[in-house]
Symmetry: none
Subunit: 184 residues, 4 copies
DNA sequence: AATGAATGAGCATTCATTCAT
DNA sequence: TATGAATGAATGCTCATTCAT
């Protein structure tokens, strides 16, 4: 088994962890499953990451398949348009149409953070990234609400197997973004 | 050991499961932990619920501490008012201010449902209950969006330890409920 | 592997634990070593004894090779004689000359109890048994001191590889038993 | 990480080992725990002390918080008095009243020495130091018995959580020191 | 109908030690 | 000389599930 001196070993473990989490969910992530996926001795995973949380955090933090990334890839769509809601609805559609594993992983992270405070900073990073991406187009409070609404819409899609309805998303995002209705 | 012929046994197991899930999270729920909490022999839990999923579903379905219940308790608040957003924001505040375990448990259900399709019907029941409660006050599509937004707002509160901001919730719910802004 | 339904399984595990502790010391006692010695699956040891301490306590409590047992076997030696010190010195010699494993195990118990409070009751039982055996022959306070002195003498023998000196033991035990010297 | 060429490194590792052993017991002593306590890389501990026993011996030999040290500190108490028993009982009280960690560590050494012959010389050093301190005040054989009795008394205190009874100790030490009772 | 016993798989983690650099 | 990386073995323990009674 002469595989001593394997530079990049640490990175390969992280990559394997991401694959495992994507395939089996965060619950399926264990030192053993990751070691097997990375083709690395068990002790190696505990050497580089003393606890599972440590590994999980490293993996999630690197996992750049989140919505924020998709958003960045389509920045042009937002920048050029005056209709922010339409742009967001489109990007959301792209994201949800892509690899479901990435989408599910993102929400697994959110919700796993519910019980594991150690994960909250990572979850916060993800939402912050989206909020920041919206900053140039609207005020911060509205941006926060937009993120909240998008999260809620995605959860509904994921949990009810209802197909994503871009028109619906655009309409509702539009309402939030447009600001308060005129006084009656 | 003469506890044979215990008619409420099955129910007591369910109750214990809810307590366990509330206290330790769904991940902490096992035949053993539930048996201990219910003060019942281990075999009894597997007898009444062949698999863990079966027990989990029974427990969650009964768990009536969800937002829908709080909403029902404050129905008057919604019925009498013309300001639905304000009423919802208030009820949301009541729910989030109460036992956090109930809130966390509800969102943990979402997490579990992501990877365990067997739980999705239960998750759907919960959101449907809220949507239906809103039915008399707005159209179905808006109701769905309101639920989505409330979910997103709650997640932000739970995941970032930010205190719940009722004014913010009222404002944003108001925007969604008010309907599309006038064309410009 | 059809070894289901093995009555006496629990007892066999205890017996195996005693053999392991005698052979390798308390430090060598693990679920695995005991399971192997008892020719029983690993899970069986954890089923019958949820924690190692539980198994250790059960084993030590049953282990009747302690000094108290040897003392009981030679009760006649003490009862018939007016020279208690001589009797005790003789019994001590018999004990130390026997299987060293029993002697070492007894002191391992004493000293393991130093750091593991769970073991203290068992250690107390052992010393109490000796103290009670001495009760008919002397007052309780002297009995306690006799036990203390015997423990100290045994430790010296075990730790310095010095052979046991019965005359020395008899002399010193005699001084303690005789009571205070006349005032000068 | 520039902590190469650290002259006191070896000593700092020993000091850390003593702190670890005092705090968690000898069983809690490992290359890792010591390295962490000494704020030194893991490899450093294995470099300076090839095996754990080597480190343990070095640590114990230096550990000067034993009873012999306390005895030396109170030498005046013994020298000036004609009542050796009273003096010893007082010193014993001082030792047992101080940091329990030192007391427990000393007796843990006895435990370890039972099964690890490599430690016996160190254990012998400790008792010899006490015996020598008594040399000026009594004959060697009595001194040995005094040490034995003190060990037994201390064990009783440590194992039964009984408070130290100085009057009892003085009385019993007095009986041993006084020498044989007059023939009857 | 009910359950105590059983079990094999799995878990996170710790560890002493080796070794290439 | 010093050390970070590596690793295989072992640890206590939990678990879902099966099954004979």
């Amino acid at each position: 088994m002469a595989r001593r001196h394997d530079p990049g070993r640490r990175q390969r473990i992280i990559d394997a962890a991401i694959r495992v989490a994507a395939a089996q969910g965060i619950a399926g992530l264990s030192h053993r499953t990751v070691a097997a996926e990375a083709d690395v001795p068990l002790g190696s995973t505990t050497y580089h990451f003393a606890t599972l949380d440590e590994l999980l955090i490293a993996a999630l933090r690197q996992c750049n398949e989140g919505f924020a990334t998709v958003l960045a890839d389509h920045r042009a769509l937002l920048d050029g348009s005056t209709d922010l809601a339409a742009g967001l609805a489109t990007v959301l559609g792209v994201w949800l149409a892509g690899e479901r594993t990435g989408v599910e992983l993102e929400y697994e992270l959110y919700l796993a953070a519910l019980r594991r405070p150690a994960l909250r900073p990572v979850a916060a990073e993800w939402t912050d990234a989206v909020t920041e991406a919206l900053a140039p187009h609207t005020d911060p409070v509205t941006a926060r609400a937009v993120v909240a609404l998008m999260d809620g819409i995605c959860l509904q899609v994921l949990l009810t197997d209802t197909p994503y309805d871009e028109g619906y998303a655009r309409e509702m995002l539009g309402r939030v973004i447009a600001g308060p209705p005129p006084a009656r």
